[in-house]
């Protein structure tokens, strides 16, 4: 009993559907199976179409709708589509040179060359916790070489996939082992923060942070909100160069925050994505974290080398958990492995090799600090130039926040309508919250941006 498929193939080559049908029919042909295997089969050749068969029925995932575009990465997508010669991408926070080009640090190129030329190096698996040298040196970088917590072996450090990966692993660890599942994040914060924490199973609340009136820190609000958080709650703190606002607490304010956090028994989780990039000094940019470690208490810290080493795509980072004792740190590390193994088994080797190579060589390390300072200085110079340009145009409003804010981003204070008009009239691409990436500016393009801001402020409500 054979069904004739396809019904008529006289015209041209069979369609994909026909081909699939033919394949199925061939497979079902009575003579194709050996006697023994036929016994266990359904003798009825009329099968209902499988939900996973392409030719009829639907995918098991048919109900899936398209996910919304990531708001930050979506800006670059829109920018790429724009044919205007004066377009400016001030969206994603990747460093650009004065010529508007991405930058591979010289010291990184050197390190890569060394790695490639080293024939003895083999690309085997790293341990689950990553490269040991890299971990040790990362901890030293953020906590300070003479940190007592390091000397007392109280820190569990694991290599992770940049800042995001470090945050996710830390969050998953907390969900598994910590008694409180609530994390307080600043308002506003990096768009991906709530998603990372929610996907890990934490419940996300926010604390006041940015004051739109002053374009500075809402210190009172921050203290009130953290003060009323339940004891034991987790608190996300941006170590420096707050993203997206660029507004950081002063040293005095940090001390105040520290006291509050400790007295309320809150657990600090630092996100350090810009060490060295903010002020140009690695130590200065780690002050906040070191303050918390100095009091003997515990905390988590996520580090990223995406910006300060320009290693964006290589996904290099580290998660450190500062514990009370070395014994606790050992146990914590063992549990971190159980989080990592079912996620991706072990971290990627390339980026961490580069970082470790640089850190272990005195000259290369020095070279890095110089190149890092050059990047930070360029950003600081852009801030000054933009501020001066707006003042020169007599643009209404107080623009001092441009030079007061720190790091790669400026929270301009422009509203969504103003941002939209800047995109439309001036081909300026930025996130709709008014955040601009200073790294995307150059001396050449500052005037164009100043014109755009001026127009937006004077013409659009």
């Amino acid at each position: 009993m054979r069904t004739q498929f396809p019904p008529s193939s006289a015209h041209g080559s069979p369609s994909p559907t026909d081909r699939r049908l033919s394949a199925l029919v061939r497979h079902l042909g009575v003579g194709d199976h050996s006697a023994s295997s036929m016994e266990s089969q359904d003798p009825n050749p009329a099968i209902s179409p499988s939900a996973t068969a392409a030719f009829s029925g639907d995918s098991v995932f048919a109900n899936i709708v398209q996910a919304p575009e990531d708001p930050i990465l979506g800006v670059t997508v829109a920018y790429n589509k724009d044919p205007s010669p004066v377009k400016l991408n001030l969206g994603v926070g990747a460093y650009r040179t004065e010529e508007g080009k991405p930058l591979v640090l010289n010291v990184v190129r050197r390190a890569e060359q060394l790695i490639i030329n080293d024939q003895s190096r083999v690309k085997e698996y790293l341990p689950i916790t990553g490269m040991a040298d890299f971990n040790k040196l990362s901890a030293k970088l953020i906590f300070g070489t003479d940190s007592p917590a390091i000397q007392e072996n109280r820190i569990a450090t694991v290599q992770c996939l940049s800042g995001t990966g470090s945050l996710r692993v830390g969050a998953e660890f907390l969900v598994k082992h910590y008694h409180n599942r609530t994390i307080y994040i600043p308002q506003p914060t990096w768009g991906n923060h709530p998603k990372v924490f929610t996907m890990a199973g934490l419940s996300v609340k926010s604390y006041r942070y940015y004051d739109p009136a002053t374009r500075g820190l809402n210190f009172q609000g921050l203290l009130e909100d953290l003060g009323s958080a339940p004891s034991g709650a987790i608190v996300l703190l941006h170590a420096c160069a707050h993203n997206p606002t660029g507004v950081d607490p002063t040293t005095e304010q940090w001390e105040h925050i520290r006291q509050l956090v400790r007295s309320k028994g809150l657990l600090p989780f630092f996100d350090s994505a810009y060490q060295g990039f903010a002020s140009g000094s690695l130590d200065t940019d780690a002050q906040s974290v070191r303050m918390f470690v100095a009091d003997g208490g515990e905390c988590l810290a996520a580090q990223s080398y995406a910006k300060n080493m320009g290693l964006y795509g290589e996904r290099v980072g580290a998660l450190s958990i500062v514990c009370r004792t070395a014994d606790v740190a050992t146990r914590v590390e063992s549990q971190l492995k159980l989080v990592i193994r079912p996620m991706y088994s072990n971290p990627p080797i390339h980026g961490a090799s580069i970082v470790a190579t640089i850190f272990k060589d005195r000259d290369m390390y020095t070279e890095w600090t110089i190149e890092l300072k050059a990047m930070a200085d360029r950003i600081i110079s852009m801030r000054q130039q933009l501020f001066d340009a707006l003042r020169a145009r007599g643009t209404p409003g107080d623009w001092s926040h441009i030079v007061k804010q720190i790091g790669m981003f400026t929270f301009t204070g422009l509203n969504t309508e103003q941002v939209a008009s800047m995109t439309k009239e001036y081909h300026i691409y930025m996130t709709s919250d008014g955040r601009i990436s200073m790294a995307g500016l150059s001396s050449r393009t500052v005037p164009h941006l100043a014109d755009a801001i001026h127009a937006a402020v004077t013409r659009v409500a």
Binding site: T52, F61, S162, T198, R315, R324
Partner: protein
């Protein structure tokens, strides 16, 4: 002891900043059964020690290998000016080349873009992304894992919070596929169940269905409307032929299944530490593929934002360059052939030693691993007396066996088994 407690309390109260024992409840985690073997091996100072634990390829000198095609690709990339844009392209290219490898160069699915493909963190990462995706969009579903399977599969679906069951796969006595039991379990599972399948070189048993058996499994999957998810970690490594090793997938594709597939380049390109892989999910049409892909990217974004570029660049450079690709295919065959050959040598040695047991499975099994049939007690003896390291389920990574150590290994196995007791 009491005074110690009092002292601790006092100390806490006297500090203006309260220091709390957050992690007292954190116990020491059990070591990973596979990776801890290598740790133990490194700690052993015996000159005769052999590491047959983790499945990383070794040449006949017992050395890890960087393929020449990889070195060439590295040199090619190092000379490149426009690394950032290359990197962006590298990931897309990786996905395009990966799906062609898995589904065939002339596959309709690929030509018509009826797949959602994303770069993943090797095989583990691809499986985890799929598990998370499955949980989100088919929350009622569970996953059927073969008994046995790679131990980390259980961890992956557990952490993604997808309930798991097993289906019978390996026949312990006969050391072959338990085909009838497998088919029974496939039939008895509720319709629309999700199954994890190893398309070639099953880990840990090395036992694969025949082509005919795959066809029957595929047929039964149609009857039951099951979802087939393939974890392909050894394409090219099993038989030495890339297309042949993907045959199971091609059979399912031909039958019209909309499968999911995890691919790893850890072993077949020797890129272990780079964490390069691909997850693809076949869809009804290109439009649906866009939706599914966008959701996968969202899941990845909350885990690590983007995957690492370097490994993807290496793979796409190799696959895109005809000369490098040919070189790779040759080198892959050399690796696979060495494994096939050393299996024969090991078996021959055991027979020559006069072992009373049947060691056919050593040469019948496929891929990097030999499921030896040794009991945990016998494995312990091998480790303690002979400094031979393997996982306690008796899984031997044949990649760790060399011309130099095969006699020693055969002798040790013979010694611990010659009383005739085997599982």
């Amino acid at each position: 002891m009491k005074s110690g407690v009092v002292w601790r309390c006092l100390r806490r109260r006297s500090m203006s900043t309260s220091v709390i024992d957050w992690w007292d409840n954190v116990g020491i985690a059990p070591k990973d059964p596979i990776l801890s073997i290598t740790e133990a091996y490194f700690a052993d100072s015996s000159p005769r020690k052999i590491n047959l634990g983790v499945g990383a390829y070794r040449d006949d000198e017992g050395k890890p290998v960087v393929l020449q095609c990889v070195r060439d690709a590295q040199a090619k990339i190092a000379g490149c000016e426009f690394l950032e844009s290359l990197s962006r392209q590298g990931s897309m290219k990786l996905v395009d080349e990966s799906v062609k490898l898995a589904y065939g160069e002339s596959s309709d699915v690929v030509k018509e873009g009826r797949f959602a493909g994303v770069q993943a963190l090797s095989g583990t990462g691809a499986c985890r992304l799929f598990a998370e995706f499955q949980r989100r969009f088919r929350p009622e579903a569970q996953i059927y894992l073969p008994a046995p399977t790679w131990s980390n599969h259980r961890n992956i679906w557990r952490d993604a919070q997808v309930p798991q069951r097993t289906f019978r796969y390996y026949n312990l006595e006969s050391k072959i596929l338990h085909f009838e039991a497998l088919m029974d379990d496939v039939k008895n599972a509720p319709n629309y169940s999700f199954f994890l399948l190893h398309p070639c070189a099953h880990n840990p048993t090395g036992v694969d269905p025949t082509e005919e058996q795959w066809r029957e499994i595929s047929y039964q999957f149609k009857v039951k409307n099951h979802f087939p998810f393939f974890d392909m970690a050894y394409q090219g490594f099993a038989s030495g032929d890339l297309d042949r090793d993907a045959q199971a997938i091609r059979i399912f594709l031909n039958d019209g299944h909309l499968i999911g597939c995890a691919q790893s380049f850890a072993k077949n390109m020797g890129l272990y530490g780079q964490r390069v892989g691909c997850l693809s999910i076949l869809c009804k049409d290109a439009k649906q593929a866009i939706s599914v892909k966008s959701q996968l990217q969202q899941i990845a974004r909350a885990m690590y934002s983007n995957p690492p570029v370097y490994g993807a660049l290496l793979v796409s450079t190799i696959l895109d360059d005809p000369d490098l690709r040919n070189l790779w295919v040759k080198e892959l065959k050399v690796m696979a052939d060495r494994i096939i050959k050393i299996r024969a040598v090991l078996r021959k040695n055991l027979l020559e030693l006069g072992s009373p047991l049947n060691w056919d499975h050593i040469t019948n099994q496929v891929g990097m691993f030999c499921y030896s049939g040794l009991t945990p007690e016998q494995v312990d003896q091998l480790t303690n007396k002979f400094h031979i390291y393997m996982t306690r389920d008796g899984r031997i990574s044949m990649a760790g066996v060399t011309t130099e150590n095969v006699a020693y290994l055969a002798n040790a196995i013979h010694k611990v088994t010659k009383s005739g007791k085997e599982s």
